[in-house]
């Protein structure tokens, strides 16, 4: 085969694989959206689910998913950013950092169901936190924290050396250089990465089945006291998230419209994750423009 034919064959193969993958993704997305979008309404998004009657909504589940995401970020952002700064600026490269990096890789690629069972054994039972949002957030931390470390480390490493040197040469300490020069430059990348990572947290189900639980208590959305058991803001109550809800009604839903509810909820989930992705891109571009263009 001449080099030219080889080139042509390779190009055709690569293009067909790409087309296949794009078609598969578009088909999948289209399928989920088309099947579910008709079921989405304001009522569906805000009302509580029904066990045996038709017409239930996903309000509490949607709220739980968002609240769980916030709780997870409250835990992982400070720790992850701190560790990322340490890894990129302070740790001497060597066995220790290699070891941490290995742990980070392993943790973030752990099967979710294993993390869920680990959460059940350690967080729920051993620490006695029970099925709760907080247990769920800790389980999600297992995936999210390594990601945050990696995102921050890479963002900080991506800051041009010239910027860092300019600050150090002015006599600023290492810490001030990090906080006033490097962080502002790295921040857009960190935020974009965080939003993308949030998509995974939002869609996670397996790790939450046995940690955040599969039920929600009757929530009173007018009760904002975080210590009250019926308050939606109580982090120590069990909470079924949207992804878990989809799994549950698909496998054991009793309501006559269970299939439509599952389809509608799946569409909502996909839309929210897409929204995260688009926000991340838009935000990244916006910050880039803001940082580089002259006003």
């Amino acid at each position: 085969m001449s080099a030219k034919t080889a080139n042509r064959v390779a190009t055709i193969v690569i293009i067909s694989v790409a087309v296949f993958i794009v078609a598969l993704l578009a088909g999948l997305l289209g399928f989920i959206l088309v099947r579910g979008i008709g079921h989405i309404s304001f009522d569906f998004l805000t009302s509580a689910p029904q066990t045996i009657k038709a017409g239930g909504g996903i309000g509490p589940q949607l709220f739980n998913s968002l609240f769980l995401l916030v709780l997870t970020l409250i835990i992982t952002v400070p720790l992850g950013v701190g560790a990322g700064i340490y890894m990129s600026e302070y740790a001497k490269p060597g066995r220790f950092t290699d070891f941490i990096r290995l742990i980070v890789e392993v943790l973030s690629s752990f099967p979710s169901i294993v993390v869920g069972l680990f959460g059940l054994l350690v967080i729920v039972n051993l620490f006695g936190l029970g099925f709760s949002l907080f247990s769920g957030a800790l389980a999600l931390t297992v995936f999210n924290l390594p990601l945050m470390v990696r995102i921050t480390e890479q963002a900080i490493r991506g800051v041009p050396r010239e910027q860092k040197e300019a600050s150090l040469a002015l006599g600023l300490s290492r810490w001030k250089t990090i906080t006033s020069v490097m962080m502002p430059i790295a921040l857009p990348t960190i935020i974009t990465g965080t939003i993308l990572a949030s998509g995974r947290v939002f869609g996670e189900a397996a790790a939450l089945l046995f940690t955040a639980g599969m039920t929600s208590p009757r929530l009173d959305f007018s009760n904002w006291n975080p210590l009250s058991p019926t308050s939606p803001l109580n982090p120590f109550r069990p909470a079924e998230t949207l992804a878990v809800h989809i799994w549950k009604i698909n496998s054991e839903g009793l309501a006559p419209d269970a299939a439509q509810i599952a389809a509608g909820a799946s569409a909502v989930l996909v839309i929210v994750v897409l929204l995260f992705n688009f926000t991340a891109r838009w935000f990244g571009r916006y910050m880039y423009k803001k940082l580089t263009a002259s006003k």
Partner: protein, 251 residues
């Protein structure tokens, strides 16, 4: 004339690599000192020993001493941040922060000692004037520094260094990325600055060294071959390698 830097038997290793060998040199106060030599001979390395920027690289080992107004800057008790305030640096590529012109100049003083608004305004104006940039930017102080031309950005970097009130300015090929007119402006500026500051500059341009400097030091393979008043070094070099280099026969 008083001596600003007194370098005694300075040695620098990057790991196993011996980059600076037995350097002894004195740099007089309020003068322009040019460092010349072929690529890789250690000019930047030497320049960066003067404000200890080499400390950033973990493999670096420095022996010998460099006295700044009498105190060895490699003494264990030396406050490196204080040293860098006294010895400012301008880099090869203009590297303003992605902030406004004002914020760039105010950056150092603000983080060092939090002056009031009025004092800060004064520092910014004085530094921009000192860098011959004030007239060009006085109406645009709050615009992004990245919108300036390369030459203006480089003068902004000089202003940013002046704002922390240094005694010395180190310049590492600071005009090599600029057009001839911007280069000329900075050369004129250097003549102004030497009234108040000691300037040490690396340059690849022999004409520039001859035009602006009072003293020239010729480096080769990590050693100082010759260091004398610029006029003398260019008219009657003592070492034949210096002569070969300045007449363009190698390097």
């Amino acid at each position: 004339m008083t001596t600003k830097f007194e370098v005694n038997e300075l040695q620098l290793h990057y790991g196993e690599f011996h980059a600076l060998k037995q350097i002894s040199l004195s740099i007089p106060e309020r003068s322009v000192n040019a460092l010349i030599g072929p690529s890789g001979c250690g000019k930047s390395t030497f320049l960066r020993t003067l404000n200890r920027m080499n400390d950033m690289i973990s493999s670096v080992r420095v022996d010998g001493e460099i006295k700044l107004s009498g105190t060895n800057i490699y003494d264990t008790g030396m406050d490196v941040e204080e040293l860098r305030k006294r010895v400012g640096m301008v880099f090869q590529q203009p590297n303003p922060f992605p902030k406004s012109i004002y914020e760039n100049v105010a950056f150092g003083p603000r983080l060092h000692r939090k002056p009031g608004r009025k004092e800060l305004d004064e520092i910014v104006e004085k530094s921009l004037r000192g860098a011959s940039l004030w007239d060009e930017v006085k109406d645009d102080l709050h615009k992004s520094a990245l919108g300036l031309s390369g030459g203006q950005q480089q003068r902004l970097c000089i202003a940013r260094a002046l704002a922390v009130n240094p005694e010395v300015l180190l310049m590492d090929e600071s005009t090599s990325a600029l057009d001839p007119i911007s280069t000329l402006k900075i050369e004129e500026l250097i003549q102004e600055l030497k009234k108040d500051y000691t300037i040490v500059m690396v340059t690849h341009n022999m004409h520039q060294a001859a035009r602006v400097s009072d003293y020239t030091t010729f480096f080769l393979n990590g050693e100082v071959i010759e260091s004398s008043p610029t006029e003398k070094l260019f008219s009657t070099p003592v070492d034949h390698r210096t002569e070969q280099y300045i007449t363009g026969r190698f390097g």
